[in-house]
């Protein structure tokens, strides 16, 4: 997964940023073109396809009835998984998820879980015995930077798109009515904004080229009311307190902007 960036690329990107410009002409706080399509996989109970510039991924939601975890007997189960498919980049390898893939799915999971996107308590059918279990699979098809924001947007959209059969309980048995499909109990459209720190600047929605030379990365998950539900700093260089607060500030408008694609 090591990718060698020519020093000259690094220098030119950094130089541009210093000049207030980005290689693709965007403003520092501008997303690339966003495209969101839902219901793209008929066999999934919910699905969404996201394009962020050339970055492309599909999120599929599969539901099944399962036992709840013993420490949360009244709550449905959400499992978030991601695969950085070898098709998506020349340096992605087949095999079990590496640390980048694990981080992507865990941060997505935290944003959705802590942002209370779905009301997991309403997914309980029989306390301690039967709950809905939702598998969210993030399938990365084309990698051109900023998977994190695309993954959260796709995950929220797929959950909004998901329908399950009505479940009723008779004599301790669960009866599913596939004629009456109902949407998941939906709470919040928590979304995530990611910035790359390059030199002294923060740039939103880093492209692959920017990610490869960035100093640090900060992702901010926000609810519609502007409260924070998740954050993750990445990268091998530090970031300052003031940069973090600045990123939080920008994220308010930018998650709002992304949220419009969910309408």
């Amino acid at each position: 997964m090591v990718s060698i960036i020519p020093e000259i690329t690094r220098e030119s990107v950094v130089y541009l940023i210093k000049e207030g410009k980005r290689a693709d002409g965007r403003a520092f706080d501008e997303y690339r073109e966003v495209s969101l399509e839902t219901g793209v996989i008929n066999k999934a109970e919910g699905s969404a396809k996201v394009k962020l510039g050339n970055t492309q991924l599909v999120v599929g939601a599969k539901t099944q009835i399962a036992e709840p975890f013993s420490d949360t007997p009244k709550m449905g189960v959400l499992m978030t998984n991601s695969e950085l498919l070898p098709m998506a980049a020349p340096n992605f390898e087949p095999g079990p998820p590496d640390e980048n893939s694990v981080e992507l799915s865990r941060v997505t999971d935290r944003c959705i879980r802590e942002g209370k996107v779905v009301d997991l308590e309403k997914l309980c059918i029989i306390e301690g015995k039967k709950v809905w279990m939702i598998f969210l699979d993030i399938h990365v098809l084309d990698y051109d930077g900023n998977l994190q924001d695309a993954a959260v947007l796709g995950a929220v959209a797929a959950l909004m798109n998901t329908k399950v059969p009505t479940a009723t309980v008779e004599n301790d048995e669960v009866i599913l009515d596939h004629e009456k499909m109902i949407p998941l109990p939906f709470n919040e459209k928590a979304l995530m904004c990611t910035f790359a720190k390059i030199g002294d600047e923060l740039v939103l929605d880093p492209s692959l080229e920017e990610e490869e030379i960035m100093d640090a990365r900060i992702s901010i998950g926000m609810r519609a009311d502007g409260s924070i539900c998740a954050m993750q700093k990445g990268g091998k260089k530090p970031i300052t307190r003031d940069e973090i607060l600045k990123a939080v500030n920008i994220a308010k408008n930018k998650t709002e902007e992304l949220r419009k694609y969910l309408e």
Partner: protein
């Protein structure tokens, strides 16, 4: 030599209504192929056929890092057939299972004869097939799309390999089984071929066919291949012009 004029021999004019989805015995499901759909891959293609949605990326020719696989006089063509967890009714656990290992192997063997591997010694050409949604016949769909992605990657080839299945369903030998027909059906016979010479590069069968039925099925699969081959050419032409 394969004769493609089998249609008139087989069609009796009565079988057409017998299929659940109303297709004629020698009718393909609706088919759509596009080339060049991914940014990072050297070549790519997307195919929809009936309910199947298949995406293929090609990388290479590129350096092969696994020394014991390296061939001193030619490239290796490696395939990875993979199903998305959400592509099937019951969620599939990520990672290869025995079925996908076998399909990856025979897909590689199906494509290999068409590629001028000898032009790229010590290297690899990697074909990644992702089944985003599965509805019967994904191995053929994968091979068909992979050939287009190889062409999109500019890999020099003798021919564009194409794949299609025939089978037996409701007592009738038919082209391109749907998922329902495959599950309930009596036999399935997927093949891949090089249309120019008619040579067969993949063939599998399971079920119950008499010798005569088998011969009809193979000819019907070949016929399907020839039809799909036209769609492949269109997709490539659309991407690159004439």
């Amino acid at each position: 030599m394969i004769k493609i004029t089998v249609e008139s021999d087989l069609s009796t004019g009565t079988e057409t209504s017998a299929r659940a989805d109303g297709r004629a015995f020698n009718e393909l499901r609706p088919l759509k192929i596009s080339a060049g759909v991914l940014e990072r891959a050297d070549g790519s293609a997307y195919l929809e056929m009936g309910g199947n949605k298949v995406l293929v990326a090609v990388y290479g020719p590129r350096e092969l890092h696994i020394r014991h696989m390296m061939q001193p006089d030619k490239a290796v063509l490696r395939c990875r057939y993979n199903m998305a967890p959400f592509s099937v009714d019951d969620r599939k656990r990520p990672g290869p299972d025995r079925r996908s290992v076998e399909i990856s192997k025979i897909t590689s063997e199906a494509l290999t004869p068409a590629v001028f591997l000898e032009k790229f010694p010590r290297s690899t050409i990697d074909v990644f097939i992702e089944v985003l949604e599965a509805e019967g016949g994904t191995r053929c769909a994968g091979i068909t799309a992979a050939s287009v992605a190889l062409a999109d990657a500019g890999i020099p080839m003798r021919d564009i390999v194409v794949a299609c299945a025939a089978g037996k369903s409701n007592g009738q030998v038919v082209m391109d089984l749907s998922e329902a027909e495959d599950k309930e059906g009596e036999a399935d016979l997927p093949i891949a071929m090089m249309p120019r010479t008619g040579e067969i590069t993949l063939l599998q069968m399971d079920g119950h066919l008499t010798g005569e039925e088998f011969e009809r099925a193979i000819d019907l699969a070949v016929e399907g291949c020839m039809k799909i081959s036209e769609e492949q050419k269109k997709a490539i032409k659309e991407r690159y012009g004439d």
